[in-house]
Symmetry: C2
Subunit: 252 residues, 2 copies
């Protein structure tokens, strides 16, 4: 009997209240558990994600684990689930893992991507997956800001910290880069962990700097004195993707 | 009084029965005319597109002309329309043109783009705008096929010709190229005109060759003897965009 399955799932977050979601609303986790039940799983089947994603946030590479109730090969589970899942959720990969693998506790790094359309009128096919930015941006200043934020810092000032004073807010942001894409810009952020709303604050910070509303000194101040420095805004969820989650032994 | 306006419009074609559409169903042209009426236009206001697009086909650069009923600058028309249009239609550009400009009769060339995801499981955020192709493709053979089809030919065998024997089915396909994109492939096709369903047959032909179901000789035969050669399939509308329409004097 297959002990445990690790699955990678992609979703269009537009019509979900999030990975976990609010009671009575549609959640990705809830839809996946419902799909398992359609395949005969017991009522109390549970899938365990690497972490939550907010309402409207998309994923290309969210990971969850689940203990199967029937001895199917991983590939067969993937195909069967994709046959009953709604068309905005798709299992991309499935593999058997050790019985003690845990999608949340074993995750060692995550990558998010944020997509930005630069211009006044945005083509409507991008409206679910891009943030529209109308004002001109100082791209070199944004690159300098990204370089400043990269590395190990206390990111309290770049999160919507809910105040657990006993938990560290230091994270190692191994990648924060801005890339040109045909439609505008893509921000890639990878770290050993992200605080609540941290990616959307990082992007908000980059855009504030790009519009000249914050200086690099303000950003440094935000890292040094998060309590007394005004925080940048949280940008919209529609441009954000959870792109990948890494576990020990995964290829770079 | 502004004599005539030329407008460029982008739309997500998913929820439309097409540019013109069937009676009682939602059409892009109908939604734009309704938007004009919301701005006070007479009941019989008409917008004239460069041509129809089928149900589900998207646009980044469809063009239409309209005779305004009020003396607004073009930019103001664009902003006002975008304020009342549904979120799957957006006016991208507007300019004043000569009173005899005609979006359909004056068009000298069009470009379409077709987006293909290569793989078994497609990320759901691509499902409205990409065709999914599961089988492996022989890319060099597809490039050879594109090179063969490019140029001036009788494209009767690559259209869903409705049989007007008096009308020519010769077109000059100035561009047919396959480009790598992060998600898979993009086909760009530009011509001085396209026959009914011609782009979707061209892509069908490229995919048949890529899967080894058609040889380059079969393709040549299709151009030489359209009546006796089996036609390739029409691929799905969801991957197709009307990307641009050219008029005399437009930049390349």
């Amino acid at each position: 009997m297959t002990a445990r399955l690790r699955m990678t799932v992609a979703y269009d977050g537009t019509d979900f209240s999030g990975w976990q979601g609010q009671p009575g609303k549609r959640s990705v986790q809830g839809d996946i558990e419902a799909a398992f039940r359609k395949l005969g799983a017991p009522e109390d089947i549970r899938v365990h994600g690497s972490g939550r994603t907010d309402s409207g946030v998309h994923a290309r590479g969210q990971v969850f684990h689940v203990d199967p109730f029937r001895d199917y090969p991983a590939r067969k589970w993937m195909e069967s689930l994709n046959g009953v899942l709604p068309d905005d959720v798709r299992i991309m990969e499935a593999r058997e893992v050790a019985a003690d693998f845990h999608a949340r506790f074993d995750a060692i790094a995550k990558e998010y991507r944020y997509f930005i359309f630069c211009g006044v009128n945005m083509p409507p096919d991008l409206r679910r997956t891009f943030l529209r930015v109308r004002s001109p941006l100082d791209i070199p200043a944004m690159h300098a800001c990204a370089a400043l934020l990269q590395g190990e810092h206390d990111f309290k000032g770049l999160s919507a910290n809910r105040g657990y004073p006993e938990r560290t807010t230091v994270r190692h942001l191994s990648t924060l880069v801005i890339e040109d894409i045909p439609e505008g810009l893509m921000v890639r952020a990878a770290a050993n962990g992200f605080l609540y709303k941290m990616v959307r604050k990082l992007v908000g910070c980059l855009l504030y700097v790009g519009r000249g509303e914050m200086s690099l000194e303000n950003v440094q101040d935000l890292l040094d004195h998060p309590r007394r420095t005004p925080h940048p805004p949280v940008v919209g969820a529609e441009g954000l993707y959870l792109w990948r989650v890494w576990y020990p032994g995964d290829p770079a």
